[in-house]
């Protein structure tokens, strides 16, 4: 039995119907696996491979190639700060350092309570709204540490459900 196929039957069927070749569904299905397990787990890889008629090694290589698939669990809030050139010109490097200091984590690290993972990423196409970050794939823009501290407090308290899941369900 394939637990992903059972649990997400409708979404998976809708996804497969978009393409003439099942292999094209590998990326959307990896997102579903990541949503289910919190990261792209070995069992997730096997199930996606079965659905797409692929070898698990091929699925693993796809998951490894793209940065938005995580091979290990992240914090509940996965904060990806853009520190690329355009954002850095508007203070993004400093913001990124201050955020890590405030949460007490190293680059790529997760807070002890498992709430926040902080890492820097390449350009996110929001250069006019720097500093900015992506929280569980949702953009949060025009930031400074004051706003950030407020958001962290809200997220800790469970406010703003929008960013709590890795996906909002329809893909």
């Amino acid at each position: 039995m394939n637990p992903l196929l059972t649990k997400y039957a409708e979404r998976i069927a809708k996804t497969l119907a978009k393409y003439p070749d099942k292999r094209s569904a590998v990326m959307p299905l990896l997102y579903i696996a990541q949503e289910e397990y919190g990261y792209v787990s070995p069992e997730g890889i096997d199930q996606v491979a079965e659905i797409c008629d692929m070898d698990p090694t091929q699925v693993k290589s796809v998951a490894g190639f793209y940065t938005m698939y995580s091979e290990k669990p992240k914090g509940k809030y996965w904060l990806q700060v853009c520190t690329d050139l355009a954002c850095a010109l508007r203070g993004a490097d400093k913001f990124h350092e201050e955020l890590k200091d405030y949460l007490g984590v190293e680059e790529g690290g997760t807070t002890e309570d498992g709430m926040f993972t902080v890492e820097h990423v390449m350009c996110l196409a929001a250069c006019d709204k720097a500093p900015m970050l992506q929280c569980n794939f949702h953009f949060v823009e025009n930031l400074d540490m004051e706003k950030m501290k407020q958001l962290i407090a809200e997220w800790r308290a469970g406010v703003n459900a929008e960013v709590q899941k890795l996906s909002n369900g329809s893909k």
Partner: protein, 430 residues
């Protein structure tokens, strides 16, 4: 003819809620598609050719010509919309899709009709998660009006439109890597020929047009108002308007849609408000991280923003992702930042790019730590030159540009980094 609009693309700035299909329809929306499906595909292609519309993704290839490469005899053909938008400093396609999504859907469908495609795939970078979900809803709005799917606008022509999310890889904006990614493979460029337009070269081996979001969003205007109305904007070689993404050291960063042929001064001062208080603009990357950096002069600011005029500055207009840097910026730092980007985004397929970006980054780090020598600067320039023209896609060339042109145009910044006793006054003699 309708009065000249201020905006062809960023119409939401004049017409609130144009993302709503009813509002879009009230303002001429989908009229071009309805008009197109009553014409022959060849007539549609001819009109786009006549408009001189050039690809807005960076390469500037004539759009109508690209469409005409598709062999009409093949039964299965595709349109792939490049919404990967990952060039450093680029954020225009996102605004089009968020605020004027139907114009993209309409433009993509006109392209699809012109080449008689069976389906359109809109490939969005994975980070555009929210944008893709909104776009899905907009596709359904259009379907409910009979404008997507079976018998489009009451014609015999049928075509599906799907979104597809990438997962964080700059290289997937390269057209053949995009197609590989859509097929569920690693997003690495393909050997060409065959080109995407040819049998064997496109999506699932079928002839495919790959066009950027902004390119396709121009098409409804061209078909509705005619090629001549479009050519009323811009220059002979660069027709229409263009969205300029201005970021970095200006008062008002943002997207500005201007006719091609406007001047740098109009864009940077009149629109973006000029440099920050007390600063002067030192350099500009006109095409994100991938184009040669320009040294800003008074004379240069009065030059035109067209594909041909930016070439006179030994750079490229490309995607028009204008990153502005003021006199506080060290160009060695810029070269290092951009190199880290390309090192991260190199797909690893071609040795000169994979190894080249790695070593460029390592040596630049050494220079940034103050441990570099002049021969290190010569070394990175040599490495960069050996990457040019030696890779399957343009990423290798893009990664060489920030090195070669920061050294060429700002040699004093490198000299300062490698020689603590260097006095800037000596640059005059260089």
């Amino acid at each position: 003819m309708a009065t000249e609009p201020k905006y062809i693309l960023l119409r939401a700035r004049e017409i609130p809620n144009i993302d709503d299909i009813d509002v879009y329809l009230q303002h001429g929306g989908y009229e071009a598609l309805k008009k197109a499906v009553k014409q022959t595909p060849a007539e549609v292609i001819d009109e786009v050719k006549k408009s001189n519309l050039r690809g807005r993704g960076g390469a500037g290839f004539p759009t109508g010509v690209k469409w005409s490469f598709i062999p009409q005899s093949e039964p299965v053909k595709y349109v792939a919309v490049n919404a990967d938008e990952s060039e450093t400093g680029t954020f225009k396609d996102r605004e089009i899709m968020e605020t004027n999504p139907h114009q993209l859907i309409e433009g993509a469908l006109i392209c699809a009709y012109a080449i008689q495609a069976t389906a359109v795939y809109i490939y969005l970078r994975g980070e555009f998660w929210d944008v893709a979900h909104k776009l899905d809803a907009k596709i359904e709005e259009a379907r409910a009006k009979g404008l997507v799917g079976k018998n489009i606008a009451g014609s015999d022509y049928s075509c599906e439109v799907y979104t597809h999310l990438g997962a964080g890889a700059y290289i997937c904006g390269e057209e053949s890597a995009l197609l590989n990614s859509l097929e569920g493979k690693l997003g690495q460029p393909r050997v060409r020929p065959p080109f995407p337009a040819q049998k064997g070269g496109g999506l699932y081996g079928e002839p495919t047009v790959v066009n950027n979001v902004e390119t396709l969003a121009n098409v409804p205007f061209i078909i509705r108002e005619g090629a001549d109305a479009f050519k009323a904007f811009g220059s002979e070689q660069s027709s229409g308007t263009k969205i300029f993404c201005v970021s970095g050291h200006v008062q008002k960063p943002g997207n500005y849609e201007l006719p091609l042929g406007s001047t740098w001064r109009e864009l940077l001062y009149d629109c973006a408000g000029g440099p920050l208080e007390g600063r002067t603009i030192k350099g500009i990357l006109p095409s994100g991280g991938s184009g040669p950096v320009i040294r800003v002069t008074d004379e240069m600011l009065d030059m035109k923003l067209t594909y041909e005029d930016v070439m006179k500055l030994n750079s490229i207009l490309g995607s028009a992702s204008i990153i502005v840097m003021d006199d506080t910026v060290d160009m060695v730092w810029v070269a290092s930042k951009v190199t880290k980007f390309f090192k991260h985004e190199s797909c690893g397929k071609c040795t000169p790019c994979r190894e080249g970006t790695y070593w460029l980054d390592k040596v630049l780090d050494r220079i940034m730590r103050g441990e570099g020598q002049m021969k290190d600067v010569e070394l990175i320039e040599n490495v960069a030159r050996n990457m040019q023209g030696t890779t399957l896609c343009a990423l290798g060339d893009f990664a060489a540009n920030p090195i070669i042109y920061t050294i060429k145009n700002f040699p004093e910044d490198f000299k300062k980094r490698v020689d603590p006793n260097y006095a800037p006054a000596t640059t005059a003699a260089d």
